[in-house]
């Protein structure tokens, strides 16, 4: 009995084919948004996807996928992830599910965060997944180190870096790129988010957060440029409601942008 338990516990990530970190360095550039949209795009492409939300202070994923406040169950292998759909194609784990009150502030110092993330990585029974996306908080701290250390036993395919085009963002993302190089995490590519705003009234494009910064950063650092996603109020509104933007607005340029990024990502993972 004991041996069986150890065998089960050995591989909670055993049947996860690919692990992709979504990083930035800068806050508020759209890591959770891009993670959510990539997950949805991959599911529409028939893949089984998991999202591990290690942003302990600001868990956004449960809200973006409208999974509410479900109870987290345990099984022999550990925690059972919460499924966003009845077909169980999208599995999620986030501290948001473990909080009594959604307004509760998680004011923890490093060691406590590190411990919980360790559990999130090894003790969630993900089962069979094509891709596990890991949504991270901004910065390069305890959470990031904890995730990498715990994933070392498994394998990290690489990281997708999200930035907005402006200089204050690309500056922080440059630091994150150096972090990836130092920790031997492959950079799968850079996504430039909030790249240009098209006025719904007159279609004039305004570069509120500048434009091209992400693409330049990719060139500068020799990374792959995955694509730009425009600043779309419809996308923001969908996420507020926990709606599937890709299903609701398949004709938008944002849909095209996200689908292309997802396809490029899949090709580089399967290569």
């Amino acid at each position: 009995m004991q041996q069986n338990k150890r065998k089960l516990n050995k591989g909670n990530l055993h049947q996860v084919k690919h692990v992709v970190l979504v990083l930035s360095g800068k806050g508020g550039v759209g890591k959770s948004t891009i993670t959510t949209e990539l997950a949805l795009a991959l599911i529409h492409a028939g893949k089984k996807v998991g999202i591990l939300d290690v942003d302990l202070c600001g868990p956004s994923i449960p809200r973006m996928l409208r999974v509410g406040k479900p109870e987290v169950h345990q099984c022999d292998a550990g925690w059972v992830p919460v499924y966003a759909d009845p077909q169980q194609q999208l599995a999620i784990m986030s501290i948001g599910f473990l909080l009594e009150d959604s307004d509760e502030a998680v004011i923890w110092r490093g060691p406590k965060k590190t411990a919980l993330i360790g559990q999130f990585v090894s003790d969630v029974a993900w089962g069979e997944l094509d891709v596990l996306l890991v949504d991270t908080p901004p910065g390069t701290s305890d959470e990031h180190l904890a995730v990498l250390e715990n994933l070392r036993k498994h394998r990290v395919d690489g990281a997708v870096l999200v930035t907005t085009p402006q200089a204050v963002s690309t500056g922080d993302v440059r630091r994150e790129i150096t972090f990836c190089k130092k920790t031997a995490v492959k950079i799968l590519g850079i996504v430039e988010n909030m790249s240009g705003f098209v006025c719904p009234h007159c279609s004039e494009c305004s570069n509120i957060f500048s434009k091209g910064g992400g693409e330049e950063l990719a060139k500068l650092t020799g990374s792959v440029f995955l694509g730009s996603v425009p600043l779309d109020p419809l996308l923001a509104a969908s996420l507020e409601e926990g709606q599937d933007f890709l299903q609701a607005f398949p004709d938008s340029s944002t849909y095209t942008a996200i689908s292309q990024i997802a396809n490029t990502l899949l090709s580089s993972l399967d290569a």
Binding site: Q74, R109, S141, R175, K182, P233
Partner: protein, 295 residues
């Protein structure tokens, strides 16, 4: 596989018992906390925080500091960038270089537009990541706060990093803070975190001066059509719910981003613009709230 239901609370406490427990915990915690020590020469410390990343804390902190000086030329204002992992102040204030040391081995803050500034960004290379765990960050914050020759300041504005972790705890536990300004965009997803930020300040007994709603509305430069890209008035509603004041409403304007990227904050580079006016109004509201709180 056997599934077992594990809920967060495996026991139930009656109300009175729970209150007694919380009181005991509070007393126990109060004994063990570090003593707050004011920063030498600094009269009032204002923190600019949010909980959520990317809502404009640094932009607001920089323009608030400049706004405080613009409203009252006799006041001296300093700016501390406590975002150790993503220090934005050097870029926003167009400052670079390693700080000099005084005779007393204190770091001399770098000055621009009349504001002495200190940031981790001055101490490391531009592309170097700060891959530090909590303990090292605490020690760095201590240095950035105490080992700087601030001189005599009426206000020290501290730009906080996103989140509710080590940095926030270290600062609020070690320094007496006159008040906190919470910045948020109107989006629910940002407000969720702003709420947590406000909750954190309540727990550590830091008065919340009010909320700033940033990126509230975008006006198309061509047709003047207004789009509420990140939602409408969400922060105003949150302020009402939390019982705190709205300190101001800052629109989403290309000028703010352009001047920020150039290191020429909008309050000094376009002082007559509506955006600069909005920041000066926030500064005036902050001063008023500080005075109210002292009373």
């Amino acid at each position: 596989m056997m599934y077992r239901c594990v809920t967060q609370r495996n026991y139930s406490l009656d109300c009175a018992g729970e209150r007694a427990l919380q009181e005991r915990q509070r007393q126990h915690m109060a004994r063990g906390l570090p003593k707050q020590k004011p920063i030498a020469g600094v009269k009032e410390v204002i923190v600019v925080a949010s909980g959520k990343g990317g809502v404009g804390k640094s932009t607001t902190a920089v323009n608030l500091a400049l706004g405080l000086m613009a409203n009252d030329q006799s006041k001296s204002v300093g700016l501390l960038d406590a975002d150790v992992y993503g220090p934005s102040v050097p870029k926003l204030m167009n400052l670079k270089g390693n700080p000099e040391l005084t005779d007393k081995n204190l770091m001399r803050p770098l000055v621009n537009f009349g504001i002495p500034c200190m940031s981790m960004g001055f101490l490391v290379e531009e592309v170097a990541p700060i891959v530090w765990r909590g303990l090292m960050v605490m020690s760095a914050i201590e240095k950035l706060v105490r080992q700087v020759d601030w001189g005599n300041l009426d206000y020290l504005v501290i730009d906080m990093p996103p989140g509710t972790g080590d940095v926030q705890l270290s600062i609020t536990q070690n320094i007496p803070i006159a008040g906190a300004v919470i910045v948020s965009t109107p989006q629910d997803i940002a407000l969720l975190d702003a709420r947590r930020g406000a909750e954190m300040f309540r727990k550590v007994n830091v008065p919340v001066l009010g909320l700033v709603q940033n990126m509230s509305v975008f006006q198309c430069p061509k047709c003047n059509h207004q789009t509420h890209i990140f939602g409408l008035d969400g922060a105003k509603e949150l302020a009402q719910t939390l019982g705190v004041e709205m300190l101001g409403d800052i629109p989403l304007h290309l000028n703010i981003r352009e001047t920020s990227d150039k290191g020429q904050p909008v309050v000094v580079s376009s002082p007559d613009s509506p955006e600069a006016e909005a920041y000066r109004r926030v500064a005036a509201a902050v001063v008023r709230r500080l005075a109210e709180h002292l009373r």
